[in-house]
């Protein structure tokens, strides 16, 4: 069975005056229909750029320098502008972090949905209306009719994000890339949206790439996890296994930083140092300056090690399985 989305050796570099920023430097991802992949990492790890690269939305001075993105078997890298445009929104969709900003403030929801629909299909206003209402119903909005006539500022944050998801679903895409779509929402709305997304994946078979820095969100939603650091995937595998038993020191550090089990007054665990600048990254493992296990062997870039059980890590000294 071909994967809904298969990313191989993706490299997206930004050519700035200060030097080449290797925001994404060799990323492999694969996801089947109906599954959820959590793409986890700190700010600046390249997870958002990976998402934008998959959709071909990288603007100058950045560009995809290498790699392949296959959507249902179709190669997307190297498509001309118009062909790429015809894929976007129809076969693969994307939703963004801040629902306050992703909807156009001066246009009615209905107008925005109609534009999204007509970008790919020449259809009558009646059909536009029906399909918009259907999509709004699918994401669990209580009064789709009113919603269609509303301006974004008249809706709450959660409703706005639902509208954005409805727009993403309009053409029944194979894959949705969601870039931190619940980060800006409060916790109760967050869990509602997560449930909704889970249901949608089961029902429609859409594959979901869920970009986030929030491990709690991933643990409740994702089937698989890929952890990104400095433009590379450092660990991947089934979500449960990775979260229960991380093998890469960075994943371990991330999990330890979750203040879930800390006692009040006790100092919170953190990873020493910060993510390195991506300009002129020194050779070797990018995490080695912050890693307690690093030695001379880490000065050459470690290969991805297959750890069995569908798991892999990019580490010379992976943590032992318990």
């Amino acid at each position: 069975m071909t994967a809904a989305l298969d990313v191989r050796g993706l490299k997206t570099h930004f050519f700035t005056r200060g030097g080449v920023v290797k925001a994404v430097d060799g990323v492999d991802l694969s996801i089947q229909r109906g599954r959820v992949l959590g793409l986890v990492g700190e700010s600046g790890s390249g997870k958002s750029v990976t998402g934008l690269s998959i959709l071909g939305l990288i603007d100058l001075p950045g560009r995809i320098v290498e790699g392949s993105v296959r959507l249902d078997g179709q190669e997307l890298v190297g498509l001309d502008r118009d062909a790429a445009r015809r894929v976007r929104g129809r076969k693969i969709a994307m939703i963004f972090q801040d629902p306050m900003m992703t909807l156009n403030p001066v246009l009615r929801v209905g107008t925005q949905m109609s534009m999204a629909l007509r970008a790919h299909e020449a259809i009558s206003s009646d059909t536009v209306r029906q399909r918009s209402l259907a999509a709004l119903g699918t994401v669990g909005l209580p009064a789709p009719e009113q919603c269609l006539a509303a301006y974004p500022h008249q809706l709450s944050g959660g409703m706005r994000q639902r509208v954005a998801i409805a727009i993403a679903l309009l053409h029944s895409p194979s894959v949705i890339v969601a870039d931190e779509p619940t980060t800006a929402l409060d916790v109760s709305i967050q869990s509602q949206i997560l449930q909704e997304m889970q249901r949608l994946c089961d029902q429609t078979g859409v594959a979901l790439v869920w970009i986030t820095h929030d491990l709690a969100v991933v643990s409740s939603l994702a089937h698989d996890i890929a952890v990104m650091y400095a433009g590379r995937i450092v660990e991947s595998g089934p979500a449960e296994d990775v979260l229960a038993e991380p093998r890469h020191p960075y994943t371990r550090g991330l999990l330890d930083s979750v203040p879930g089990e800390a006692k009040p007054g006790e100092k919170l665990a953190q990873i020493p140092g910060s993510i390195p600048a991506l300009i002129d990254l020194p050779p070797g493992c990018a995490f080695r300056a912050r890693c307690g296990r690093a030695d001379r062997a880490c000065e050459t870039m470690p290969e991805i090690v297959d750890l069995g059980g569908n798991r892999s890590a990019r580490c010379v000294h992976p943590l032992e399985a318990a």
Binding site: L103, N104, P105, H120, H153, Q154, I167
Partner: protein, 323 residues
Amino acid sequence: MLGFLIQRLLQAAAVMVVISVLVFCGVFAIGNPIDVLISPDATQEIRLDTIRRYGFDQPLWRQYLNFANTLIHGDFGRSFVFNMPVLDLILSRLPATLELTLAAVIGATVLGVPLGMYAGYRPNAAGSRAIMGLSVLGFSVPTFWVGLLLIMFFAVELQWLPAGGRGDTVEVFGIQWSVLTWNGWSHLALPALTLSLFRMALMIRMARAGMREAMLSDYVRFARAQGLSDGKVIFGHVLKNISIPLVTIFGLELAATLAFAVVTETIFSWPGLGKLIIDSIQSLDRPVMVAYLMLVAFLFIMINFAVDVAYAALDPRVRSGHA
């Protein structure tokens, strides 16, 4: 919406009252119109009689009340110099200024906005750099100098266009318009171009800034992720968003150009309001000055009002009193 309208109208009325006081006192403070009104060798008797006739012997507050009283009846008084009702005098000059201003500001907008949008859409293209160079030029070169240069080039050297005056006019609804004749347009072209250069530079800058900001915004990214072509993103999503600051500039510039096209009108001897006000200041023609300044205030108020209504039409957040 109705409440909004009534509130704005009351505000406008209050502003007009304050303006009338300020303008009246301000004009009162300069010069002595008697010296202009009668010949220097007039007898003391004639002199006193004239002072009495114009009410200059009254205290300032009574003079103002008299003025306000006639004003309420729609009478701005008579011009000392032209000896005709001030309102008629101003209205006879208004169309000339109006068509010059509209031609300049609309022309600047129609040209400047698309150029600015292109420069914002492709900031690194050679064309965009040329456009931005043009806008810097438009900002920094003084209007009078551009006017003189245009006259020298197109009127004196090439002799394509006339150097001044208004040309043939056609009467419509009792008002003389030169935009309806070819000859009128040829007279209008140079002064309108002179006036529009600065405004166009402003429009280019505003449109470019708006465009650049919008192209980086999340809603544009989301629209592109939906597979909309750049054209649809720009004209469907961006244009309405960036119109709001552009409408503001349009309104302000329209009002400012109407009121203060003085220099350009003088250079091209365009028989508009600007020339009238300069002449009346020189001859201390108080009623004309007062009426002109009040007209300018009125125009500003009306145009700002129209801009506010345009905001409400463009931005739903303003409509619901949200922003």
